[in-house]
């Protein structure tokens, strides 16, 4: 099964950092306070961040080639 990873819709992110707090792999950061970024190398695709995001803008998407 192809791996799913968290993908953030940057334009809609409110940079609240809720996703950062729940990520078990610390794969998310909010650099410069504008929008969150996922380090795809660390993300294990657990989907916790997508559940937590109050704006519901994180999608779990297949990114592997």
């Amino acid at each position: 099964m192809p791996k799913r990873k968290a993908t953030i819709s940057a334009r809609e992110c409110v940079a609240c950092g809720c996703c950062v707090k729940v990520c078990p792999k610390s794969a998310i950061t909010v650099p410069k306070g504008i929008c969150a970024e996922v380090n795809k190398a660390l993300c294990i695709g657990c989907g916790k961040c997508a559940k937590e995001c109050p704006a519901s803008i994180i999608k779990m998407e297949v990114t592997e080639p």
Binding site: E12, V14, A15, C16, G17, C18, V20, K21, P24, K25, S26, V30, P31, K32, G33, I34, K51, E52, C53, P54, A55, S56, I57
Partner: protein
Amino acid sequence: MKQQKKWYDYLWIASLTYLILGFFNILFAWLGLLCFFIPLLISIAKGNKAYCNKYCGRGQLFALAGGRFGLSRKKDIPKWMRSNYFRYGFLTFFFAMFFLMLWNTYLVFAGAKNLKMAVTLLWTFRVPWHWAYHGTWLSDGVAQFAFGFYSVMLTSTILGLITMVLFKPRSWCVYCPMGTMTQLICKARNVTLSQKIKK
């Protein structure tokens, strides 16, 4: 693997204490200025949202009540509520109301108006709050500001609780004026930064 809890993960206690103190002595409301200036100073000085991302006790309170205690439906917030129109609109409205509150405070300072011992909820409902006022040796305006500021804090908490129940625990963060403003400041700062780099 759970992330290690840090000292700032307990700031929700401070937020809760703040709300409770206002029931006993309204003058404690002045402390709320901290969660007004700290996020602004962090975003202006450091250019990030560390306040939201780490320290905000209110966000933690919603996360706890809505998450741990299950007081949230955990449904997606409607699209219009996370649109920039709504977010910036709410920010504008919030500040308009804030300045109105400051103006009223000024009038009391100036002696043009009498102190109103009430907390105004949702900018409409005036709730008597005289039990929390035991007089001050300072101007009445000091107390008026406390009542006004506590109204702002309580109103935003109520709104936050409503959206917490209806949507996700921290739905308030989507349209929180402080969050929107600090994000705007960060954006503005980084525009100027990248312009500097280009030069």
